[in-house]
Amino acid sequence: MALKASLLLDGQLAPGETKAALDETTADPVLRDRYTVYGLVGDVLRGNSTPDDGYTMRILERMRREGARIEPDYDPLAGDQ
């Protein structure tokens, strides 16, 4: 099943398979971790040296803290907002 996490990371799944792979990956702590570490491996190979210090979690925590939600009329490319 870790193969699917790898394919999910690379967008290599058929449209009908992506949601199922996301379900499987996020439901299993080991697969979820593999998804993150596979991404880390790629970044390190590209020269993005990085600590393993919860960077992603802090992004997600701030999004939750600020109640970020999809806004139909918000344009993120319209300069200072």
């Binding site: 394919l7 967008g11 993005n48 997600l60 701030r62 918000y74």
Partner: protein, 197 residues
């Protein structure tokens, strides 16, 4: 890297309200966005603030993403705007040229560029060393597939053509390479699954 529209399905799911799909995109791109932001902003803490702001802007504006460009290209532009917004709020900032980022020799390393944090610098160095050691021990055909994809940015289909193998074999080789390296990273990373995603 590879195919331009590889994120289409995750974006579509996120637009339909599946927060996990957007989280998967955050996991995938946070380091690349941090590297980009660090071309504009000094200091790991400020870089991280801008990266967070960029992802929040992207999520708020996700409905406006039409797929005319790759998701990463769209996110990259949002991060640029967020970095410039940050710089404009700094009283001593002078932007050179047309919003040109100041080229910095020490650009990037999210969370690592603070000289006062040797522990994080050491951790990053240990991770990089472990990845390179594992890569060196990989079967050559696996290392080749992974390097073509991750380092040279070749799409799966092109790798298949270059190596004369079916695309399914490319998928398997890249996965096996990643998994081999990931397992050798485990002792370095430690059991911190709840801290990653």
């Amino acid at each position: 890297m590879g195919e331009a529209n590889q994120d289409t399905e995750l974006v579509r799911l996120a637009q339909a309200g599946d927060e996990r799909a957007f989280e998967a995109l955050v996991v995938k791109y946070q380091r690349r966005i941090a590297r980009h932001v660090a071309r504009y902003v000094r200091g790991a803490g400020d870089v991280e603030d801008v990266v967070q702001e960029a992802f929040i802007r992207a999520y708020r504006g996700l409905a406006s993403f039409r797929g005319d460009s790759a998701f990463y290209s769209w996110l990259y532009r949002i991060a640029t705007n967020a970095a410039l917004s940050f710089l404009k709020r700094q009283p001593d900032t002078v932007l050179l040229g047309d919003d040109a980022p100041e080229e910095r020799a020490d650009a990037f390393e999210p969370g690592v560029s603070d000289a006062e944090d040797p522990e994080r610098i050491l951790m990053a160095s240990q991770i990089a060393d472990a990845v390179q050691r594992a890569l060196a021990r990989l079967q050559p055909e696996l290392a080749e597939a992974l390097t073509l994809y991750e380092v040279e940015g070749k799409p799966y289909a092109e790798i298949a053509g270059m190596l004369g193998i079916p695309i399914g074999t490319v998928r398997t080789r890249i996965f096996r390479a990643r998994d081999f390296i990931a397992k050798r990273l485990d002792p370095v990373l430690g059991p911190q699954r709840d801290r990653r995603w």
